[in-house]
């Protein structure tokens, strides 16, 4: 069991507050900067503009540096960091549907990535950008967010079981 900086009891109470505050900070700055991951890729491919792409790269680097430093101070809170060294090169951090093979997770990462990229371009922004545009008063983006809300439920009622069954039937 991983042990964080604060006790489990306190952590259980504070999770919603910590995430609410961090969300406010990210939302505020995302509105000010127009931050968008998919927009970053799009602008780079179309115009070779690097403004948004630099933000995405900065996020990867700063996360790696922060994980590295905090892991040296409190390794218990950052178990298995760096992941590919401790868990194996092709092992994935949990998040996708459980109990599939490593090959299946790579396939799902590729399919999921392509799907997000295509849809993101057509609706003019990644999920975070849609939330921020909703906060700016865009009704289109509000409907995108409502779609995400409905999609969360659909995923567990339909998609997850279907795809896991499909993967298993293919021996993955």
């Amino acid at each position: 069991m991983a042990a964080g900086w604060i006790s489990m009891e306190l952590s259980l109470i504070l999770v919603p507050f910590i995430t609410l505050v961090s969300g406010c900070i990210i939302g505020y700055f995302a509105q000010k900067t127009g931050f968008c991951a998919i927009g970053g890729f799009r602008d780079y491919i179309m115009f070779r503009h690097t403004r948004l792409l630099n933000g995405f790269i900065a996020m990867i680097i700063s996360a790696a540096v922060a994980f590295f430093i905090f892991n040296m101070i409190t390794p218990m809170a950052f178990e298995n960091f760096p992941w590919m060294m401790t868990k194996g090169l092709l092992s994935a951090v949990p998040g996708a549907p459980a109990d599939l093979s490593q090959v299946a997770y790579i396939i799902l990462a590729l399919i999921g990535g392509v799907g997000m990229g295509v849809i993101g371009v057509y609706v003019g922004g990644c999920p975070l950008r849609q939330f921020v545009m909703t906060a700016e008063g865009s009704m289109k983006s509000l409907w995108f967010v409502i779609g995400m809300v409905v999609g969360s439920v659909i995923f567990y009622l339909v998609t997850s079981g279907f795809v896991v069954g499909l993967m298993k039937s293919m021996g993955l």
Partner: protein, 169 residues
């Protein structure tokens, strides 16, 4: 307009936010990992929406829809995306960029279906572009495939859009 706002709206703005998200995500993991995993979960526009929706439904209706261990054990699921909306409205109001922009029925359909589909693809990968970046930062090589996928998808969509313009549509 003061100095800070200029930096945010300049070409360096996204870099500032990228660093904020990266460091915040690590701090959040330090503070919340005792409540349950997974790792590199400090910020995710998709997973945190899923946790909020399914967590609230599970509490209200007694259903058992899937969500991260962290949100299952805590008194309330993660509220990140509520925070993003609040922060976004505050920023938009302050800079007088808040304006209700109505949508037509066709747009509503496209965006609603887009939201549903993006959620399916994203949850199969287990990350939005942001958590993908955090996972790469955590040393998860599989997430690199996800980012390659996103790049390929963006490229594909741009080719399709360019073709349809050339076709006279």
């Amino acid at each position: 307009m003061n100095e800070g706002e200029n930096i945010l709206e300049s070409s360096k703005g996204p870099i500032v936010l990228g660093i904020i998200i990266g460091v915040l995500a690590a701090i959040i993991q330090g503070l919340t990992i005792s409540a349950g995993g997974p790792e590199a979960y400090g910020f995710c526009a998709l997973c945190h929406t899923r946790d909020l929706v399914n967590g609230i439904l599970n509490i209200l209706l007694g259903t058992n829809l899937g969500l991260a261990a962290l949100s299952k054990t805590a008194i309330l699921p993660v509220l990140t995306m509520i925070g993003v909306l609040i922060g976004g409205v505050i920023a938009a109001k302050m800079s007088r960029e808040f304006r209700i922009k109505h949508a037509q029925i066709k747009d509503i359909l496209v965006y609603f279906i887009g939201g549903v589909l993006l959620m399916q693809f994203g949850l199969l990968f287990g990350a939005c572009p942001y958590r993908a970046a955090l996972r790469v930062g955590y040393g998860d090589f599989v997430a690199v495939f996800g980012i390659i996928g996103i790049l390929a998808g963006v490229w594909l969509a741009l080719i399709m859009i360019t073709r349809s313009f050339k076709g006279g549509n």
